[in-house]
């Protein structure tokens, strides 16, 4: 039994006030009469008219008492927990930590599902059950069902998530549910510690199990080679934990670490050269309660080759730079041989230096350097002989990030450049004296066109170290990495890029679920399960690893959770609710007066 507005129970103070009023109210006036004999005799005749006349005084009090109590309880909004139909609302935490197993090998999630199934047995008594799962997202799994079979089927198909717990979202959903069903009983099944909770009951599924977790994998180059580091934390107890290093699925090293409970231990391995290594894995096998954080995998994917067609009559700067980058074959084609050469070959990158094709290739990234004729969307506004510094455009864009990555653009000067008016579909990456000189456009099918509006010979850019970096960025633009991250937390998104020349890109999750990306230059992929994910692009395969959120490795604490069982209106407009309360109080007082007056008048007339 509970109340929607417990504060209204203050109205019950009216009961002692009523008693005080009855005690101090004016007593009967003494009146001496010759004999009370006939008056006493009249009692018998009063009884004929009002059988309960002797009790009238107490009936009035009882009526007033009931009025006060009833109004207080009505105003408070009594919610009977039993006897009537109960709408049970279950919030099931399905975060990764719920995969923690007990000694019997049963996960917290499985235990929660069992408890909910037990609760579902009550639906045969006319109660209804709704289940909100709080995984990466919060949503209804069962909505107001009174069918035990339906509930059991839905619960049987539930799988615990790998990410965090969207408990706030679940609480919002629960609150909306309670607004519609003020008498609902809300139960939260979680392994979090909830310090304070109001309006719901919390079932703690944690049994203080022990867990060891690997986190923060990083691979970085050092003087001695490549250093692979991670952090190892034992949650719940001090433990000696063996850590193994596996390279290309072969265990090559193992060492023990004494971990203090709750203290992160740094782990590092050094490998002389990681070339030829496609997969590095750090793992522990401590027999702890949660397996999901016992392994970290790093995919050391080699860069994809980029076939380049360099159409130039003076390719010395460019060919040197492409050679320095050394990423695929570079075909240097004189401008007069270009029409024939381009018909027979397919390239990932076309660089037109001082020339422009009559018709652009359909596939591949196109770079136009000081083109004699401008592509669509650009119209010539003459030339500028005014020297100037090459400056990154003020407006940041994705192209700017990609093309100017790792570039300093320090003292890069341009002697002269073409001036153009660009349409809106062109993005200015660099400019000289506020004239755009490096522009990028992507067409509807993902083909990217880069235009440099100056001759490399009129610039000191080829003399700068940035030039090689710029070429590398051009190559990365033409053939980008398949994924922008190698380690991702479950629930986070990573960007996958389908090369324009590739047929498709597939992402295969640890559960074997395949996601195929077609005709998209860039797309977002959200990792929903922990473990190694395969990335397959035509014949090329690499991967990335998804880890569970670090916080899921140990017991989390939530300070307070509350569900208001007041109606939506009272919750939204407390001022009006208080005003309504005073109206009720006034009504009660009026009823008390009317009740007594009514009986008094009935007696008098």
């Amino acid at each position: 039994m509970s109340f929607q507005t417990p504060s209204a129970l203050w109205l019950l103070l009216g009961v002692p006030i009523l008693i005080v009023i009855w005690l101090i109210r004016p007593q009967h006036e003494n009146r001496r009469v010759s004999s009370s004999y006939i008056w006493r005799l009249s009692d018998r005749f009063m009884k004929r008219r009002l059988p309960l006349s002797n009790l009238t005084r107490w009936l009035v009090f009882l009526l007033q008492f009931l009025l006060v109590s009833g109004c207080a309880i009505l105003a408070a909004g009594l919610i009977m927990g039993h006897g009537g139909k109960v709408d049970y609302l279950v919030i099931l935490d399905s975060s990764a930590s719920m995969r923690t197993k007990n000694e019997d090998g049963e996960t917290r999630f499985d235990r929660a599902v069992k408890l909910i199934k037990d609760l579902a047995k009550e639906t045969s008594d006319g109660h209804s059950l709704s289940v909100i799962t709080a995984g990466e997202k919060a949503g209804y799994t069962v909505s107001g069902s009174s069918s035990r079979t339906e509930i059991n089927d839905a619960l049987g198909g539930l799988v615990c998530g790998w990410g965090g717990s969207a408990l706030p979202e679940a609480m919002t959903l629960a609150q909306l549910f309670v607004y519609e069903h003020p008498s609902a009983e809300v139960v939260l099944y979680t392994d979090q510690t909830v310090n304070e909770y109001d309006g719901l009951s919390v079932v703690d599924l944690s049994a203080e199990e022990w867990n060891a977790a690997l986190t923060d994998l990083s691979v970085s180059s050092s003087g001695a080679g490549f250093e692979i580091s991670a952090r190892l934390t034992s949650w719940g107890r001090d433990e000696r934990i063996s850590v193994g290093l596996t390279v290309n699925d072969k265990l090559i090293y193992a060492e023990n670490h004494d971990c203090l409970s709750g203290t992160a231990e740094n782990i590092s391995f050094t490998i002389g050269d990681i070339s030829g290594i496609s997969k590095i894995e750090i793992s522990i096998d401590p027999g702890d309660a949660l397996d999901a954080d016992n392994r970290l995998v790093y995919y050391n994917d080699t860069e994809q080759t980029c076939d380049t067609a360099l159409i130039s009559d003076t390719p010395i700067y460019l060919s040197s730079a492409f050679s320095a980058v050394n990423r695929g074959e570079v075909s240097v084609i004189p401008s007069n041989a270009a029409p024939i050469a381009l018909q027979t070959g397919v390239f990932d990158l076309y660089v037109f230096d001082g020339c422009a094709p009559e018709s652009f290739p359909v596939l591949g990234t196109i770079v136009l350097i000081n083109p004699p004729s401008l592509p669509d969307g650009l119209s010539s506004a003459g030339e500028s002989d005014q020297p100037g510094q090459l400056m990154a455009s003020a407006a940041g864009s994705g192209y700017q990030t990609k093309l100017l990555s790792d570039l300093t653009l320090d003292r890069v000067s341009i002697a002269k450049h073409q001036r153009v008016n660009a349409s809106d579909d062109w993005t200015t990456v660099c400019s000289v004296s506020e004239d755009p000189v490096l522009l990028v456009r992507s067409n509807g099918i993902g083909q990217t066109t880069v235009v440099l509006l100056f001759d490399l010979h009129d610039s000191n850019l080829p003399m700068k170290a940035d030039f090689v970096g710029f070429v590398r960025n051009l190559l990365n633009l033409a053939v980008p990495p398949l994924a922008d991250k190698k380690i991702v937390t479950v629930g986070d998104k990573l960007t996958v890029t389908v090369p324009q020349t590739a047929n498709h890109l597939s992402v295969i999750s640890p559960e074997g679920e395949t996601t195929v990306f077609d005709y998209e230059s860039e797309a977002e992929y959200k990792a929903l399960s922990a473990g190694p994910h395969r990335l397959i692009c035509d014949d090329y395969e690499t991967g990335f690893f998804a880890v569970i959120p670090e916080s899921e490795g140990h017991r989390q604490t939530t300070e307070s959770l509350s569900i208001s069982h007041e109606t939506a209106e009272t919750g939204a407009e407390p001022v009006e609710a208080v005003s309504g309360l005073w109206k009720i109080i006034a009504a009660v007082l009026l009823l008390i007066l009317l009740a007594e007056w009514g009986i008094y008048i009935y007696e008098q007339y």
């Binding site: 003494n30 010759s34 004999s35 009249s42």
Partner: protein, 300 residues
């Protein structure tokens, strides 16, 4: 209290032609003019009986002897003096009313006493107080003694509580088959006055009950939340006191109770051939006399 207040000349003039009505033949004492159950020397023929040796031969009916050839004595009724007793309730409740019920009761007692003396009977007044029965005067049989007695009667005060049954039973000379016993009271009492009547009837007395009520008692004008305190109650906690919300319903109930009480008294009295009438205190004594007393055959 002046005797004239109890019995004024106008009333005496009205009473001159009236007499108490005694229904049955009583025993009585010698010297009166009431017919008795005994044969005597009055002028009123009563019966014949056969002569027996020793009888007074002057009372032989010779005419009857001539026709029947047997000696018969001619008997005449005896006329005797009756002794009437008037019991006056002197409880505190009798002190209420405008005028007081007590005064009305005393005036009625004086009226009856005058009629008794006028009829050559004796009369005694008794004040019923507590459980006792106090004689106001010695039995009065002459007019001079009557007025002296009325003075004493006027001095009777009321107060306290009266148990009519016990008081009447404690009467020193209740009489036996001798006159009429009058009970003058408001009869608003928890005591069993009916037993007192039965006791007097057992004594073969004729009984006449006169109820004296004030208008306030017949139709009270009270309303509101009142703690009704009985005048005979000594403390507030007395069980006779009542807290009441007096309204229309209560007044209807009072009227019904009053009607029931009157009918109960009448019924009781009719069953025992006890004369009864009820008088309000604000009614004129002459009206009491001619309207109530004569109609109830108390006087003729």
């Amino acid at each position: 209290m002046d005797k004239r207040n109890l019995l004024d000349d106008e009333m005496i003039a009205l009473l001159e032609s009236r007499d108490l009505n005694i229904r049955s033949l009583m025993d009585g004492m010698f010297g009166g003019k009431r017919r008795s159950a005994y044969y005597g020397t009055s002028m009123e023929f009563a019966d014949f009986r056969e002569y027996a040796p020793g009888d007074d031969i002057r009372r032989i009916d010779w005419n009857l002897y001539g026709r029947l050839d047997k000696l018969y004595l001619k008997l005449f009724t005896d006329e005797r003096r009756q002794h009437h007793r008037i019991y006056i309730d002197c409880s505190a409740s009798m002190a209420w009313g405008k005028p007081e019920k007590h005064l009305t009761a005393l005036r009625l007692a004086a009226l009856i006493g005058y009629l008794a003396v006028s009829g050559m009977d004796k009369v005694s007044w008794y004040a019923l107080e507590g459980n006792g029965c106090l004689s106001v005067t010695d039995a009065v049989s002459s007019r001079d003694a009557l007025f002296t007695g009325l003075e004493r009667l006027g001095e009777v005060q009321c107060g306290g509580e009266t148990d009519i049954e016990a008081s009447v039973a404690s009467s020193p000379l209740p009489g036996y088959h001798d006159g009429i016993s009058f009970i003058i009271s408001d009869l608003l009492t928890d005591s069993d006055w009916k037993s007192a009547v039965d006791w007097l009837l057992y004594k073969k007395q004729e009984v006449c009950v006169i109820q004296v009520l004030s208008r306030d008692e017949m139709a009270p004008a009270l309303s509101g939340k009142l703690h009704l305190m009985d005048s005979e109650a000594e403390t507030e906690d007395d069980s006779r006191n009542r807290r009441m919300n007096i309204g229309r319903q209560r007044m209807l109930a009072y009227a019904a109770a009053y009607e029931w009480l009157e009918n109960d008294i009448k019924s009781f009295c009719n069953k025992r051939q006890v004369r009864f009438f009820s008088v309000p205190t604000d009614e004129k004594l002459s009206r009491m006399l001619f309207d109530k007393a004569i109609r109830s055959e108390m006087i003729q």
